[in-house]
């Protein structure tokens, strides 16, 4: 068992445990902190796959900006106490059943796809090498082939900014 496998299984267990804690925690602030742990674990996965630019962007955008926004809203609304009204126990149970059915059915599809013509079991993720995840190659591609979506996304940001201000202002 190489170091790569140890890191992979550690990050996988960390991501799954923290994701469970996000939906189990009663206090919203704890949920936000566990979600930050999930994002760190996913960034670790990106680094294992040598997608370094996405790993850093994931940390900066998600763990840095979005989660701070969530924390600010929770603190501003003074929700950091356990006053969430609970759903009825049957509704919770049926939600868990629905999610479990989705998990089981899709994982059965994946399991059956191993030996079909798709040959999923022979496809491997290239770990730790390859330079398509480096910022030089991604930047060249982004500013040549993908320059129009890039500019459109700036318009999207502008409209989101205006929308957030319009919705959030007191009237």
């Amino acid at each position: 068992m190489s170091l790569l496998h140890i890191f992979f299984w550690f990050l996988t267990a960390l991501a799954l445990f923290s994701a469970l804690m996000v939906i189990i925690s009663k206090n919203p602030v704890h949920s936000v902190l566990w979600l930050i742990v999930v994002f760190f674990a996913i960034s670790g996965h990106y680094i294992l796959m040598n997608a370094q630019f996405l790993a850093i962007v994931n940390l900066i955008v998600y763990a840095g900006a979005i989660m701070v926004l969530f924390l600010f809203v929770i603190m501003l609304l003074n929700l950091n106490k356990q006053t969430e009204p609970q759903k009825h126990i049957w509704l919770k149970f049926s939600g868990i059943i629905a999610g479990g059915c989705f998990l089981l059915s899709v994982s059965n599809v994946i399991y059956n796809a191993q030996n079909t013509t798709l040959e999923l079991s022979k496809k491997a993720v290239l770990m730790g090498e390859g330079n398509i995840g480096l910022i030089e190659n991604l930047g060249k591609k982004l500013f040549t082939d993908y320059v129009i979506p890039f500019e459109i996304s700036s318009v999207l940001f502008l409209s989101a900014m205006v929308g957030a201000v319009v919705i959030g202002k007191k009237n």
Binding site: A15, G99, I132, F157
Partner: protein, 111 residues
């Protein structure tokens, strides 16, 4: 690393997100579970991008096959950032009108 491991991991994270959306009533936690589902999809896109690149790398060492998947992840992150800013503004407005972030109060939108 076989690609099924990444598929199962992303599937498990996505299912946890679904269960969170279906079982919680706090709008902010529902929103966070949506972010979790987005991140599961991002992880899967990067894994598939590396599968595609690894297959092309065997014949051509300077190929950039699979780089599109990583750019899609970049654009998903851009859209997610915009989505969060508008969504949190809506949640703040909901709290201002109902003094609660319970999603069951959202049916008051019809009035």
């Amino acid at each position: 690393m076989p690609v099924q491991y990444y598929i199962y991991l992303a599937l498990a994270l996505f299912s946890i997100g679904i269960i969170g959306v279906l079982t919680r009533r706090n709008a902010i936690i529902v929103f966070m579970c949506v972010e979790l589902m987005l991140n599961a999809v991002n992880l899967l896109l990067v894994a598939f991008s590396k599968v595609h690149y690894g297959a092309a790398y065997l014949t051509n060492k300077t190929t950039d096959a699979g780089i599109d998947g990583q750019l899609f992840v970049f654009f998903i992150m851009v859209v997610a950032a915009a989505e969060v800013s508008v969504g949190l503004a809506i949640i703040v407005m909901l709290f201002r009108n109902t003094r609660s972030v319970d999603i069951n109060f959202l049916n008051r939108l019809k009035n």
